[in-house]
């Protein structure tokens, strides 16, 4: 088990590229932390700085209370799984797994015990004499994890370890990894660009973009209380729908008007109305964020005419559910409806958003107007920055 503290970590390359900006985070013992974000957001760079494979330009890295900025990778008490597994091609599986122990000059008997214990756990005993070149993707993956297990370190770093596997195997390995984490109780820092992996594995997720942390929170918190439009769009599949609406007063009530038709409008609670009013959004455009599963084909709100018209273009039947793609006021939108729903392409239908679950974003700053700072998120200094 290991505690990791990253304070004001920066990575500035010689060509002036600022890959990681003021990264602050405290990782507790036994947490499963996910760094997630689009390509080039600095997540792998941060992981590599923790591993000691990249220099830290400024800031401080502590592992178990010790400053590790300049420590050798081998002295940091961690082990790492690489994206391409990085198996030593000239050694068989046993030698691959034992390599780190051999480097540490471990007693032969102990080494054999550890390798066999890990191999047994990963069900790769029968592969020990094979060379990596003869293994399948999933087997290589297990060997890579086995090489990490034998070291019995408290901190595992994983750099997109499932990205080279096919979809089915990825799902399998994902649940297997979750089980492994529970069993070992180690701290894992895991980099991925796949939000499904992030949501299913992480105890906390760090959402990054262009070198900055946008939000650090638990999967549920990220999903329901995203700090801004980027986080909202990145987490969840299909992506959250974003529809520009105008905040207007109608007959003493504050409503969100979509387009010029006059019929597409959404009624909001008076508390929310007051909040928008005091924050100066009256008469202004804001972005309504609504997830596909929160759009209904029948009214779910008190006001029956709280609805938006959608031009349907594609209907995707996924068996257990149907995804209806189309446009709401010219913006691409997607609704997740029951399989019995008979909506057809080229139709225009009313969509009823669940107003208790919609998000509202500022047009200019893209920040979530309804964002609530929770205890979950408060741990981080950089969160919501």
């Amino acid at each position: 088990m290991a505690k990791v503290l990253l304070s004001e970590i920066n990575k500035l390359y010689k060509n002036g590229f600022h890959a990681v900006k003021d990264f602050n985070m405290e990782i507790q013992d036994g947490e499963f932390i996910i760094f997630v974000g689009p390509s080039g957001c600095g997540k792998s760079t941060t992981l590599r700085m923790i591993a000691g494979l990249e220099d830290i330009t400024s800031g401080e890295l502590q592992i178990d209370g010790k400053r590790m900025n300049y420590a050798d990778p081998k002295d940091r008490g961690l082990s790492m799984v690489f994206q391409n597994y990085a198996l030593y091609p000239y050694m068989n599986v046993y030698e691959n797994m034992a390599f780190s122990l051999r480097c540490a000059k471990m007693d032969r008997q102990e080494m054999e015990q550890r390798v066999h214990r890990a191999a047994d756990m990963l069900q790769i005993e029968h592969l020990l004499k094979r060379k990596p070149g003869t293994l399948s993707g999933g087997q290589k993956q297990r060997v890579a994890i086995g090489s990490v297990l034998v070291r019995e370190q408290g901190l595992f770093l994983m750099d997109e370890p499932l990205s080279n596997l096919d979809a089915r195997l990825r799902t399998q390995m994902r649940s297997w990894l979750a089980k492994l984490h529970k069993q070992l109780g180690v701290t894992i820092i895991y980099v991925t660009h796949d939000q499904v992996e992030a949501m299913t594995l992480g105890s906390r997720i760090v959402v990054m973009k262009e070198g900055e942390i946008h939000q650090i929170a638990s999967p549920g918190e990220l999903y329901h209380n995203p700090v801004n439009q980027f986080v909202a769009s990145f987490i969840g599949a299909p992506t959250m729908n974003f529809i520009p609406v105008e905040v207007v007063a109608e007959e003493g009530e504050i409503v969100l008007k979509c387009g010029n038709s006059g019929t597409d409008k959404l009624f909001i609670s008076s508390a929310l109305g007051r909040k928008l009013q005091t924050n100066g959004y009256m008469g202004k455009m804001i972005i309504l964020g609504v997830r596909a599963e929160d759009l209904y084909i029948e009214s779910v709100n008190e006001q029956k005419n709280c609805r938006l018209s959608m031009q349907v273009s594609v209907r995707e039947n996924l068996g257990a559910e149907v995804l209806v793609h189309g446009e709401i006021n010219g913006e691409p939108a997607c609704a997740r409806v029951k399989p019995g729903c008979m909506v057809k392409p080229k139709e225009t239908v009313w969509m009823y958003p669940d107003m208790t679950k919609v998000k509202l974003f500022d047009c200019a700053t893209e920040e979530n107007i309804l964002y609530e700072k929770s205890s979950d998120t408060k741990i981080q200094k950089g969160a919501g920055a």
Binding site: P73, K74, M80, F82, Y88, P89, Y90, S100, G133
Partner: protein, 289 residues
């Protein structure tokens, strides 16, 4: 089915003619002519005059001079192959990391490849000169490198090793760039030091190219000629009389084309046997990943 006409059937062979012609003139004919000549005593024009059977071979195999040239050649080959490959490998490993000025260093290490052996020999001759040479000046010695039988062979061998190191550097650089960088990163995290990384990752990764380089270097070393001709002419005494130079001396100084041809055939057999052995050993020691 219609039968192909004669021109159609001969067509494919027609494409082979140019290559076969070149091979015949420069390879097959000299090869068989050499074997033929090795069985004859010749006149000064190199024409076969008197059939001697294995006489030339028996004469060679009983002469001390032949064994001397064989011994000298073996020492020479050892120094050239080990030296040339070590310099090339060292250069390639050093230049495998990105640092300012890497292109200058890479060019410098690869340069010997572009230098003719004769001009390199001339430069070495000046450097090794007993009174004005830079080697004696720098080492504060007073050795007549080329004229001393103790040093002459080593000097020629070191020059040849340096000449070969250029192409070896190129081969090894190509081999190194094929090794996945991430296994070094994993090794760093696994706690391997530089020596362990070199012997456990780099060398096995280079083994296919290393084998190829070894074969080519050995064959090349056996055929070294230009630098001997310029620097030592086989002397002092017979201390640098490599087989190839002995062949040249036999044929064009002593006009004994028969024995020269017999030496050539023996050289061919030695190189062939060595190559066959190496290909046998290859299966055990070379990792193709």
């Amino acid at each position: 089915m219609k039968k192909n006409t004669l021109p159609q059937r001969l067509g494919p062979y027609g494409y082979l003619i140019p290559a076969l012609l070149v091979f015949s003139v420069f390879l097959f004919f000299p090869f068989f002519k050499t074997i033929y000549l090795s069985l004859y005593k010749t006149n000064k024009m190199g024409e076969a005059k008197l059939f001697a059977g294995l006489g030339n071979y028996i004469e060679l195999l009983t002469s001390a001079s032949f064994y001397n040239s064989l011994a000298v050649t073996i020492i020479f080959v050892l120094i050239v192959v080990i030296g040339g490959m070590s310099i090339g490998l060292l250069g390639a490993v050093l230049c495998n990391k990105a640092f300012p000025g890497i292109r200058i260093f890479s060019t410098a290490y690869a340069l010997p490849m572009a230098i003719a052996s004769t001009s390199a020999a001339r430069i070495f001759e000046i450097m090794l000169h007993p009174s004005i040479g830079i080697v004696n000046k720098l080492l504060n010695l007073n050795i007549n490198w080329i004229a001393d039988p103790k040093y002459a062979l080593v000097c020629v061998a070191v020059l040849t090793a340096w000449l070969n190191s250029g192409i070896n550097f190129l081969y090894f650089s190509a081999g190194l760039s094929n090794i996945d960088e991430s296994i070094y990163e994993r090794a760093s995290v696994d706690g391997a030091n530089a020596v362990q990384k070199f012997f456990r990752l780099t060398l096995p990764g280079l083994s296919p190219i290393m084998f190829y380089t070894l074969v080519v270097n050995i064959i090349q070393a056996f055929q070294a000629f230009g630098q001997v001709k310029i620097l030592t002419q086989g002397g002092p005494g017979e201390s640098t009389n490599l087989i190839v130079y002995a062949i040249y001396r036999d044929a064009f100084f002593n006009y004994r084309f028969g024995t020269a041809a017999a030496r050539s055939v023996i050289l061919f057999i030695i190189v062939m046997i060595l190559t066959l052995i190496m290909f046998r050993v290859e299966k055990k020691g070379v990792n193709y990943g």
